[in-house]
């Protein structure tokens, strides 16, 4: 009896400890970014592009990187969805009876999921060289799209698999075609689609390696797909590398901005998830 009680206590303490460590480090990270970033946060940071001498501590902000990151993350997520939704539907609604084929495709995406983002950067770079595209907004979007597709496909796949087969059968037995039934399933998983968007956007906006060669960097806001675009993670990287203390501080302000952008997107997605859960069975 006593042994069971000790075991129970031991694992309970272990769980509490692990939870404290994880939650604690979250607050530590957010706390650090806030305490180091707030002193350098000002309106200029989010409304101005880097002025002359920005990197040696003079005026300006990181609007170029904010806009660049938003362009790339949004562009890649939209492009990724356009490609991923058909894939997820195809493996679940059309070839779900052919286990070998569908599982092979799932395995492929699992492998892609685990590939480091620098590889997508390098691969994206090759595609760009092939098509003669220079480091640009377009290049960055292509590389990040490659990066987020496996995330989107696997998330959507998991979500679709939670839909009871009877719902699909219900639509089919009314004489719906598979695509019409798929549309019913898509309605059902709308909250799940927003979760996928959220994951993809979060990954896309925060990744450095994939945009390193492909998007380039620029102090200006890109006005076309063929201009190089700055990104927040890369801006943080450059600022941190500066010997000037004020510029290093700005890195934390940039990190703060990045965190807040992700936070806003998360809250928006949560609201949309709630809104679209209305009809869910």
């Amino acid at each position: 009896m006593i042994k069971r009680k000790i075991e129970e206590l031991f694992f309970k303490v272990l769980m509490i400890l692990a939870t404290i460590i994880v939650t604690g480090s979250f607050f530590l990270i957010v706390g650090t970014i806030f305490s180091k970033g707030i002193p350098y946060m000002n309106l200029d940071m989010i409304t101005k592009i880097p002025g002359g001498g920005f990197y040696i501590g003079k005026e300006g902000g990181v609007l170029n990187a904010i806009i660049g990151s938003l362009y790339i993350a949004c562009g890649a997520t939209v492009l990724g969805l356009i490609i991923s939704i058909p894939v997820a539907i195809y493996i679940n609604m059309y070839i779900d009876g052919e286990k070998f084929k569908s599982n092979l495709i799932r395995l492929a995406f699992d492998v892609l999921f685990g590939i480091p983002s620098i590889v997508y950067g390098a691969f994206g770079f090759l595609i760009m060289v092939y098509f003669g595209i220079r480091a640009s907004l377009l290049g960055g979007i292509i590389a990040v799209t490659l990066l987020v597709i496996p995330i989107l496909v696997r998330t959507l796949d998991e979500v679709i698999r939670t839909v009871p087969g009877e719902l699909r059968d219900a639509a089919l037995s009314l004489g719906a075609t598979r695509w019409e039934a798929a549309k019913v399933i898509l309605r059902q998983i709308r909250p799940g689609i927003f979760t996928a968007i959220l994951l993809s956007f979060g990954r896309g906006i925060g990744d450095v390696a994939s945009v390193l060669f492909t998007a380039g960097f620029s102090d200006n806001i890109p006005t076309s797909l063929h201009e190089p675009a700055a990104t927040l993670p890369l801006a943080i990287f450059f600022q941190l590398g500066s010997p000037v203390e004020e510029v290093q501080g700005r890195a934390y302000a940039s990190a703060l901005i990045l965190t807040i952008v992700v936070l806003i997107i998360t809250v928006l997605a949560e609201l949309l998830i709630k809104k679209f859960s209305k009809h869910k069975i």
Partner: protein, 253 residues
């Protein structure tokens, strides 16, 4: 039995994952009456039912041979259009699965995909089918509310209305009352009895009392084979086969 059988199954075999699920099935389902398929769990009742509207098509590693004739047309003919087959049959599953949309849109879904666009026509159809399933008075003020807000019994009647809205000839019920409370069960059973004037109804059920109350004919399936088929009272009270006698024994005593 009246005129030509509505559904005629001929030398029908189904294998799933190399297991012989349905063995040499030959049966004629009578027109405009209720036929219940009974038998122990895992005997192939549901598989038989699903083979009538080709819902087995999506099952992994399935192999089907033989014929199922609906109105004389072999639905397993490679040239046949599967949506056309399924439109002829309404399926009522074990639990209600309303589509993720409003009450109105649930009933209007079928007619819409089959090309009815006019609002007035849809309104009429929705009202007609909701009345046919006795749901109209309960939901007429909240047609735009989510179907998931309804009670489970109401949802099942909504699913029936949704199925009827595509004007099928046949209703298939797969243990359609097993998730429902006694009152809702009674309502659904009464609906079946009422609807057989217009439709051919095939039910899978575990409840022998329900089979007796609702159906005109009974098919007893055991280990993938049809053991006995006949009028309800005969099969339940005076079975010819030993296996049937064993199965319905609890019912009689």
């Amino acid at each position: 039995m009246t005129n030509t059988p509505h559904i005629s199954v001929q030398d029908f075999n189904v294998y799933i994952e190399n297991q012989h699920i349905l063995k040499n099935i030959n049966i004629n389902i009578p027109n405009k009456s209720v036929t219940s398929i009974i038998g122990p769990s895992g005997c192939g009742k549901t598989t038989l039912l699903k083979s009538f509207n080709r819902l087995l098509d999506n099952t992994a590693n399935v192999k089907i041979d033989g014929k199922v004739l609906v109105d004389g047309e072999n639905i397993y003919d490679p040239n046949v259009e599967v949506t056309h087959i399924r439109k002829k049959m309404g399926l009522l599953s074990q639990r209600p699965y309303p589509l993720p949309m409003s009450i109105y849109d649930n009933v209007a879904y079928g007619p819409r995909i089959h090309g009815i666009r006019k609002k007035s026509e849809l309104d009429e159809l929705v009202e007609l089918q909701l009345k046919a399933t006795g749901l109209w008075n309960e939901v007429k003020d909240r047609l735009n509310a989510s179907a998931t807000r309804l009670s489970i019994g109401q949802q099942q009647r909504l699913c029936l209305a949704r199925g009827l809205a595509v004007e099928p000839e046949i209703i298939l019920g797969d243990e359609s009352t097993s998730a429902l409370d006694p009152v809702s069960t009674h309502i659904i059973e009464d609906l079946f009895i009422h609807l057989k004037q217009k439709y051919t109804i095939v039910l899978v059920t575990h409840i022998l009392r329900q089979a007796r109350r609702v159906s005109d004919y009974i098919i007893f399936v055991y280990m993938g084979k049809i053991i006995e088929f006949g009028p309800t009272e005969e099969v339940l009270l005076n079975p010819k086969e030993e296996l049937t006698r064993e199965y319905v024994k609890g019912f009689i005593s």
